[in-house]
């Protein structure tokens, strides 16, 4: 029997899956959050308007949103590219740290360079640090069959603790301040401020460029083709001559590099020195950001923007409406939960249609029985 061609409703289904599904999940999450706010006894209108205005209300708010979104763009890319290659990169946190410390070191230790070059080196250093961690995880998988989730989790701990040691009292990279941090990076290593008096720097633009390059890489190049093939069907890929283990290593190294660049950019653009334990879970949030966007490089930019907005808006919500900022974490969790459940509008419609069909058939059968009796 010839399979029927993609009908119009199936194309709508695909569109629904890619765009409407995430949007529905967000709306449902916000609805659930609204219920929570009312139950707690806070003013729903004040809370949500503070949330939205706090994220997008004015230029300062928007710039803070972008700054909060930027590291998430990188860690989401780190997760998504690995996912496309068939691997689960839970190590973006460690890769982010590795990139940050390398970036802080390169930003400080190297002097006498013009800013464009220095910043490029900082970014490169960050990429190298992250790539190293990604490579280790993938190499162990290729050679010893160790699942990358296990190695990545262990490498996360290693990265956090090694970097903490490096900036501990008497640690080799300690910068002499009272906080566990490196020295400040050189002026030439700092990403320039785009919009004083806000804190906005060009970090997000680097993220956008990386996302665009990633898109082209995955869908237009030969290596990208192989990576996607391995991610979708490693057996067929092997039969087609693609060494899946070799490309797993390339994929994870690339993923690590992206997270590492994120770490370096955060140092260069916002913090200007490496503080021990500075990440608020960027690596793990990146997983949610990536999945919300269906692991698409361009989509995850928007997804990161949303998560960044929630973060920024949360503070405003707490200050102005008194609603605990932790509520935003609940919203994030609910979004992830709904995505994971694949609560899609299309499936809902399907179910309603099925029920209607069954109802019609029942009616038809009963009518026939009455006829024959």
């Amino acid at each position: 029997m010839e399979k029927r061609e993609t009908s119009k409703s199936e194309m709508w289904g695909k569109l629904l899956d890619r765009f409407v599904n995430p949007i529905i999940s967000i709306i449902f999450a916000l609805a659930f959050g609204a219920v929570l706010i009312v139950v707690i006894g806070n003013d729903l209108g004040a809370a949500y308007s503070a949330l939205i205005l706090g994220a997008f209300g004015n230029l300062t708010a928007f710039s803070e949103t972008l700054l909060a979104a930027t590291p998430l763009m990188f860690t989401a890319m780190a997760f998504s590219v690995a996912y496309r290659g068939g691997m689960f990169n839970i190590g973006a946190e460690g890769q982010f740290y590795a990139g940050a410390i390398m970036g802080a070191w390169a930003g400080n230790a190297i002097t006498g360079l013009p800013p464009a070059l220095h910043i490029s080196l900082v970014v490169l250093a960050g990429a190298t640090g992250g790539a190293l961690l990604g490579f280790i995880a993938a190499y162990l998988k290729a050679r010893r069959g160790v699942h990358e989730v296990i190695t990545c989790i262990m490498l996360n701990y290693i990265a956090i603790n090694v970097t903490n040691y490096l900036v501990s009292t008497n640690g080799p990279l300690r910068g002499g301040s009272t906080l566990p941090a490196t020295q400040m990076i050189q002026e030439t290593a700092k990403l320039p401020n785009l919009l004083p008096p806000t804190r906005l720097t060009g970090g997000f633009m680097i993220a956008i460029v990386c996302a665009a390059v990633l898109y082209i890489f995955l869908w237009k190049t030969r290596v990208g083709y192989k990576i996607r093939a391995v991610g979708l069907n490693p057996i067929a890929a092997e039969y087609g001559g693609i060494k899946s283990l070799k490309y797993a290593i390339i994929t994870m190294a690339l993923a690590g590099a992206l997270a590492g660049i994120g770490g370096a950019v955060e140092i260069s653009g916002v913090l200007n020195r490496f503080y021990g334990n500075f990440s608020s879970g960027y690596g793990f949030d990146g997983i949610a950001v990536g999945m919300l966007a269906n692991n698409h490089p361009i989509g995850l930019l928007l997804s990161a923007l949303l998560f960044g907005a929630l973060k920024t808006g949360a503070t405003a919500m707490q200050i102005q409406a008194g609603t605990n900022a932790e509520l935003v974490k609940v919203l994030q969790a609910f979004i992830i939960f709904l995505i994971a459940c694949k609560w899609t509008l299309s499936k809902f419609i399907e179910r309603v249609q099925e029920k209607r069909q069954a109802g019609k058939q029942n009616h038809f059968n009963k009518a026939k029985e009455r006829e024959e009796a």
Partner: protein, 510 residues
């Protein structure tokens, strides 16, 4: 003769797909009735409705003239309907007896009355002449024996309408003949048998009448004695079909592939190839006949260097496989492969048809521009392949998973054959395909043979091997145990060799 079973106006849809379109079926008491149709025609669905696994959207079923409601298999069993499925439903670690009483266990108080069970089994066994060893573990008995257990299972539940779904797919030729003997015995004992199949030869051999189902409709019911295989095929497909592919006599050329004493392990680390040797010449089709599980999978894998071989030599175009030769190198040098599971091994279902067409060739000059994939070239190639290989689809940009089985196989064929290979390894090329698609695939394989390609055909369908091969080798336990020239051997002899019986090679050492 009265009808023991009548199915009237059966309609069954799955969403938008109409599986059974107002089907009427009449089965006479005591006959062996064949249900013939291509894959997806609706014959299995119809029988699943009879057995209570599906509920029809509308229609009625009459047993012995009385209307019945079959809501679940239990109702069917109560009506003395029994079904033996294509994939046996036996618990492998259990004994034959334990499997037979599953669900109808005789009990003495709280304990299982095994003695009573064995007695019941022996009674039915003798009544129908079906010998089984009640204490044997199912995992250790042959497939033919397992089928007997399945048959006994439904007899124990007092079936007198027996439905067999593709009963001969996994049997050796000898076991198939045994099965037919059993059917005749059952018929003599008053059983009514319905056989779902797509095998024309077998229908001619065993059935009294045939009903042909095509695209969800009943095309017609005929007396088997009054119809030819050719006519049945036409009814099944809806147009004239070439059943016997024309293979011209042809001189084989030089040796393209030589395997000497090759040893290889399977995925569980057990020896799968134990000193396998063979030769394939250009312009020749060598068919490997054997029961599944005797090393065929590993033979194909080792030739594509997807698994290593521990001993022996493989020579392709005169040059031996080195330890480190990669699959890509072999692909680049003219080794083509049609894998046995097209969806798992041959296609990336989420990739478009045209992206699948270059799998393995993405680094070739004509498909890339520097580090980039040349999508324009890919588009042109896709269109060319679509035309040349008659791939039916709305566009080659559709995801491969949306193509029908036959067209998926055409994508793989197009990909592998368009490179003018020198060695073509074909595994189960027509599995799950309808008669029309089978015809096409066989035509393509023969065309490659005409062009001088060396072809190794690994198939579990003896008919296919005998139809296409110049030479036939039987594989057993990872070795080639017999070698014949096609035309000088019967299917019974091959069947015997498939069970390991060694014979002197028909023409010298392979």
């Amino acid at each position: 003769m009265e009808n023991i079973l009548e199915m009237r106006n059966i309609v069954k849809t799955f969403g938008k797909f109409i599986a059974n379109d107002d089907i009427n079926l009449e089965i006479r008491k005591g006959e062996i009735h064949a249900l013939l149709g291509e894959n997806g025609a609706g014959k299995s669905t119809l029988m699943n409705i009879l057995y209570g696994l599906y509920r029809p959207d509308s229609g009625t079923i009459l047993i012995n003239g009385k209307k019945v409601e079959i809501r679940e298999p239990r109702d069917a069993i109560a009506l003395n309907i029994g079904m033996v499925h294509q994939h046996f439903m036996l618990v492998q670690p259990f004994t034959v007896a334990e499997n037979l009483i599953l669900g109808v266990e005789p009990v003495k108080g709280l304990a299982l009355d095994i003695k009573k069970a064995v007695k019941q089994i022996q009674e039915v066994s003798e009544e129908y002449g079906l010998e089984v060893d009640p204490s044997a573990v199912v995992a250790n008995i042959s497939v033919g024996m397992q089928q007997r257990v399945e048959i006994l299972k439904i007899l124990l539940r007092r079936a007198n309408i027996m439905i067999f779904d593709e009963p001969t797919g996994t049997l050796t030729p000898q076991e198939i003949q045994d099965f037919f003997k059993i059917c005749k015995t059952l018929q003599a004992c008053g059983q009514t048998i319905i056989i779902i199949t797509h095998k024309l030869k077998e229908i001619k051999q065993i059935s009294d009448r045939v009903t042909v189902i095509r695209a969800g409709k009943n095309i017609g019911t005929v007396e088997t004695s009054e119809v030819t295989e050719q006519k049945l095929a036409e009814m099944m497909v809806g147009r004239k079909v070439i059943l016997q592919t024309e293979r011209e006599e042809q001189q084989a050329r030089e040796v393209m592939l030589e395997m000497e004493n090759v040893h290889a392990k399977n995925s569980r680390g057990m020896p799968a190839l134990r000193g396998l040797s063979l030769q394939v010449h250009g312009g020749e089709i060598v068919g490997i006949a054997g029961v599944e599980g005797n090393g065929q999978t590993e033979l194909a894998l080792v030739l594509k260097k997807l698994i290593p071989f521990t001993e022996g030599t493989i020579r392709y175009k005169g040059k031996p496989y080195t330890k480190n030769v990669s699959t890509q190198e072999l692909i680049d040098n003219g080794v083509a492969h049609i894998p046995e599971d097209r969806q798992k091994m041959g296609l990336v279902l989420e990739f478009s048809g045209k992206e699948n067409l270059v799998l393995g060739m993405e680094d070739w000059k004509q498909f890339c521009k520097g580090p980039f994939v040349d999508y324009k070239a890919l588009d042109a190639f896709g269109e060319k392949m679509r035309e040349q290989y008659d791939i039916r689809c709305k566009s080659v940009n559709m995801a491969a998973g949306e193509f029908s089985g036959g067209n998926q196989q055409k994508i793989i064929l197009a990909r592998e054959i368009s490179r003018n290979p020198s060695l073509l390894i074909v595994c189960q090329p027509t599995r799950g395909l309808d008669v029309g698609a089978i015809e096409y695939v066989h035509k393509q394989i023969l065309e490659q043979r005409r062009l001088g390609c060396a072809i190794l055909l690994i198939s579990y369908e003896l008919d296919e091997i005998m139809s296409l091969s110049d030479r036939i080798l039987t594989i057993y336990n990872g070795e080639i145990v017999a070698s014949y020239k096609n035309g000088e051997v019967s299917s019974e002899q091959i069947g015997l060799a498939m069970t390991g019986f060694r014979q002197k090679a028909a023409e010298g050492q392979q």
